[in-house]
C-alpha cells in the first residue's frame, strides 16, 4: 500500500493544456475519485500517474518515490481500462497470469495466485474461457483479477463501469466498493458519473479545465461546493444559481419547498416561485419555473418529494421557502464561494 502524490503536474498536447498544474495527495489505502466532465483532464491525469503519458512539467510520486521518469512497469501499479483491455487471444487464466509472468513470479506459484484472485472475484468457473465468451460484467471482474493478482501498491481505474448496462452498474459499484475495502489498496478512480463518485469515493476531486476545482468528501463537495462549477456539476438537478447584487445565490432543488410544506419553521427565506412546468418522476416531482423578484432570467428547479402534497399548479405564483443555512453565495465573475452577505436576498 502506498500513497500517490503529484506535484505541479502539467501536460500539454500541442496548444491545449490537458492537465494544468495539479497537486494531489492520496491517503494510505484511500479511495480517491477523479470526477469531471469529458475533456476535463481526468483520464490524462490517471495516465500520467500510470506512466502511459509523460508530463510536460511536474512530478509523480508513488509511495514517496519519484517515478516520473520510470516506465509503467516499474511503478508497481495496476490499471483497469474502460475497455478492460483483456488480451483476446489468451484464456481468462492466461490473462490473469500475464502480470505474474511479466514480474518473473515462478510458474508453480501461478496456480495458487490465479485461484486466489479468481475466487475473490467469483470467476473461478470462467478460467478456461476466452474474453469474447464473457459478458460485460464478467470481463470487468477478469480485468480486476488481472489487476490485483500481483498485489500492486496502487489501483488505477478508468471508468470501469461505463461499459456496463445501467442495471448491472449499481451492483457492480457495490461489489467494487466491497472489493476495495477487503484488499485496502490505494485506489484512484476516474469517472464522469457523479453517482459513482458519491457512492465509491472517500474523497472526490472535481476537475475542470485540467485543474482541481475542489477536493473533499462527497458530503463536502455536495453541501459546500468551492465554486459555481462544482455547485452545478454535482447534483441532479444541479444547484439553482440566481444573480443578485453582483453575486450568485445558490440553493439545492430539494431545499426549495412550498411554504405550506415547511411547517412554519424559523430561519426561512421566503421567495415567490412562478411555476412553469411540473415533471412527475415517481418518487419526486421536478418543478421548473422562475423567481422574478430575485433574478427574472434564471431558471429555477424545485425537487419535491412525493410526500409533499400537490400544491403547485402551472402558471401560478406560489410562496416557496428555502432555509437560510442552505443558501450558498458565489462571486458572479469568478464563481468563487463567498461568505453570506448581511440582510435578506429578497
Amino acid at each position: 500500500m502506498a500513497v500517490v502524490e503529484t506535484r505541479g503536474l502539467r501536460k500539454r498536447f500541442g496548444d491545449t493544456v490537458a492537465v494544468d498544474g495539479i497537486d494531489l495527495l492520496t491517503g494510505e489505502g484511500e479511495y480517491l475519485v477523479l470526477l469531471g466532465p469529458s475533456g476535463c483532464g481526468k483520464t490524462t491525469l490517471l495516465r500520467l500517474i500510470a506512466g502511459l503519458e509523460s508530463p510536460s512539467e511536474g512530478d509523480v510520486l508513488i509511495g514517496g518515490r519519484a517515478v516520473t521518469s520510470l516506465p509503467p512497469r516499474a511503478r508497481r501499479i495496476a490499471m483497469v481500462f474502460q475497455s478492460y483491455a483483456l488480451y483476446p487471444h489468451k484464456s481468462v487464466s492466461r490473462n490473469i497470469a500475464f502480470p505474474l509472468a511479466a514480474a518473473g513470479v515462478p510458474k508453480d506459484e501461478w496456480r495458487q495466485r490465479i485461484h486466489w484472485a479468481a475466487s475473490l472475484l467469483g470467476i473461478e468457473h470462467l478460467l478456461d474461457r476466452k474474453p469474447r465468451e464473457l459478458s460485460g460484467g464478467e470481463r470487468q471482474r477478469v480485468a480486476l483479477a488481472r489487476a490485483m493478482v500481483r498485489e500492486p501498491e496502487v489501483f488505477l481505474l478508468d471508468e470501469p463501469l461505463s461499459n456496463l448496462d445501467a442495471k448491472l452498474r449499481a451492483t457492480a459499484r457495490d461489489e467494487l466498493k466491497q472489493f476495495q475495502q477487503r484488499i485496502g489498496t490505494t485506489t484512484v478512480y476516474v469517472t464522469h458519473d457523479q453517482t459513482e463518485a458519491m457512492g465509491l469515493g472517500e474523497r472526490i476531486a472535481v476537475l475542470e479545465h485540467g485543474r482541481i476545482q475542489q477536493i473533499g468528501s462527497p458530503r463536502e463537495i455536495y453541501e459546500d461546493p468551492a465554486n459555481a462549477f462544482v455547485a452545478t456539476f454535482v447534483g441532479a438537478p444541479p444547484m439553482n444559481l440566481l444573480q443578485r447584487n453582483g453575486m450568485l445565490v445558490g440553493f439545492r432543488p430539494e431545499h426549495f419547498l412550498p411554504e405550506s410544506a415547511a411547517g412554519g419553521r424559523a430561519g426561512l427565506q421566503r421567495l415567490s416561485f412562478k411555476v412553469g412546468r411540473v415533471e412527475y418522476l415517481g418518487s419526486d416531482r421536478y418543478v421548473y419555473g422562475r423567481v422574478p423578484e430575485v433574478d427574472p432570467e434564471a431558471k429555477v428547479v424545485a425537487k419535491l418529494p412525493s410526500t409533499v402534497p400537490d400544491v403547485v399548479p402551472s402558471g401560478e405564483t406560489v410562496p416557496f421557502v428555502v432555509p437560510l443555512d442552505a443558501l450558498r453565495f458565489f462571486d458572479r465573475d469568478t464563481g468563487v464561494r463567498k461568505p453570506p452577505p448581511p440582510g435578506p436576498i429578497a
Partner: protein, 329 residues
C-alpha cells in the same frame, strides 16, 4: 411484385405513372423498374456480379480450360490440330532436366523472398506506425516500389546490377572490397543471379506486405499494449505475447498474397536474367513461357505451367478460409 401499372416508383420517377394506355410505348428499363425487378436481391445481385463473372470467364476461365486441353495434347504453334495424347506431354515436360531445376528454383525463389518480406515488412510496419518527423516521406519511399511498373523498376535494377557499370561495384571498390578493374558480375554467376532475382522480388512485394501489416497493427487497440505495459511487460514480451499473436492472421494474409504473387511471377526473371546464367534462375512461369511461347511447344508449355496449379489451388483454399475467419472475428 407488381402493384398495378398505375403504381409509382418509390423514387417518384414518372416512368410508371402514366395511364395503362401509354404503357405500351415504355422502354425496357421502365418496365423493369416498374415491376421492381431490380429491387429483388437475387436479381440485382446477379446483375451486379455479371460483369465480373464475364471478365473472369474470358481472361481466366477460358485460358485455364485451354491450357488443360493443350497439356493433354501435342499441340504446337506449327500444328494446331488437337490430338489428345493423355499424360504423354506431362511425361515429356518432367523428363526435361531444366524442368526440375525450374521447379526447385521456383520454391527457393518463393520461400527465400517471402521469408525476407515477412520479417522486413513487420519491422517496417512497426517503424511506420510510430510517430516521427517526416513520416509521410518515408512512407512514400517505402511504397514507391509497389507503384512503379515492373518494366521500369526491372530496367533500373538491370543497370544497378550491370556487369560493368553497377554502382554496387563502385561502392565495393571505395570500401576496398574489390580491386581496381574487378567486377562483382551479379547476373553472370548462378548464385549471385539467384540472389539478385530474389532481392528484386523482395523489394517489389515488400510495400504491399508492409501496408497490409500496417493496417493490421493499427487495428490492434492501443489499450491492449498499454495494459501489457502497466502489467509489467517490456518491449519484447509485448511484441511476442500481445502484438505478434494478434497480428498473426494479418501476417498470414500478407504472406499468402506474397507467395501467390511470387510463385507465379516471371517478370523479374524475364527482365533481369532471362532465366540464366544457364538455367540457374529459371522458374516454372518463365520456363513455361520460354517453352510454350518462345519455343512454340504449346502443349509442353501448358503442362509446365499446370504444375503450379495444385499449389495455387491449395493456397487459394487457405486464403479463402482465412478471409471467412476474418469476417467472423
Amino acid at each position: 411484385m407488381r402493384l398495378g401499372s398505375g403504381g409509382r416508383r418509390p423514387d417518384g420517377g414518372s416512368a410508371v405513372a402514366e395511364s395503362p394506355v401509354a404503357a405500351g410505348g415504355r422502354g425496357l428499363w421502365a418496365r423493369l423498374s416498374g415491376s421492381y425487378l431490380m429491387e429483388r436481391e437475387g436479381v440485382l445481385g446477379g446483375a451486379l456480379l455479371l460483369p465480373a463473372v464475364l471478365y473472369l470467364v474470358a481472361v481466366v476461365g477460358y485460358p485455364l480450360v485451354l491450357s488443360f486441353l493443350y497439356a493433354f495434347s501435342d499441340v504446337t504453334t506449327g500444328s494446331q490440330a488437337l490430338h489428345l495424347v493423355g499424360l504423354q506431354t506431362f511425361e515429356r515436360a518432367i523428363r526435361d532436366p531444366v524442368f526440375l531445376q525450374a521447379l526447385r528454383n521456383t520454391f527457393v525463389f518463393t520461400a527465400v523472398s517471402q521469408a525476407l518480406v515477412i520479417v522486413l515488412s513487420t519491422a517496417l510496419a512497426f517503424v511506420l506506425n510510430a510517430d516521427f518527423r517526416g513520416k509521410w516521406f518515408v512512407r512514400m519511399i517505402v511504397l514507391m516500389p509497389w507503384a512503379t511498373p515492373v518494366a521500369i523498376s526491372s530496367v533500373v535494377w538491370l543497370w544497378m546490377l550491370d556487369s560493368i557499370f553497377s554502382p554496387f561495384d563502385w561502392f565495393a571498390r571505395v570500401f576496398g572490397l574489390l580491386g581496381p578493374g574487378d567486377h562483382i558480375v551479379f547476373l553472370g554467376r548462378s548464385g549471385l543471379a539467384m540472389a539478385s532475382v530474389i532481392g528484386l522480388q523482395t523489394w517489389r512485394v515488400l510495400p504491399l506486405a508492409t501496408v497490409i501489416l500496417m493496417a493490421g497493427l493499427s487495428a490492434i487497440p492501443r489499450d491492449l499494449t498499454e495494459a501489457a505495459e502497466v502489467d509489467g511487460a517490456g518491449f519484447w514480451r509485448r511484441l511476442f505475447e500481445i502484438t505478434a499473436p494478434l497480428l498473426a492472421p494479418v501476417m498470414m494474409v500478407a504472406l499468402l498474397f506474397g507467395i501467390v504473387f511470387t510463385f507465379t511471377d516471371m517478370a523479374v526473371v524475364f527482365v533481369l536474367t532471362g532465366g540464366g546464367p544457364g538455367n540457374a534462375t529459371q522458374v516454372l512461369a518463365s520456363w513455361a513461357f520460354y517453352k510454350g511461347i518462345n519455343g512454340g511447344n504449346l502443349s509442353v508449355g501448358a503442362a509446365d505451367a499446370l504444375f503450379m496449379f495444385p499449389v495455387l489451388l491449395g493456397l487459394a483454399a487457405i486464403m479463402l478460409r482465412f478471409a471467412s475467419r476474418a469476417e467472423v472475428g
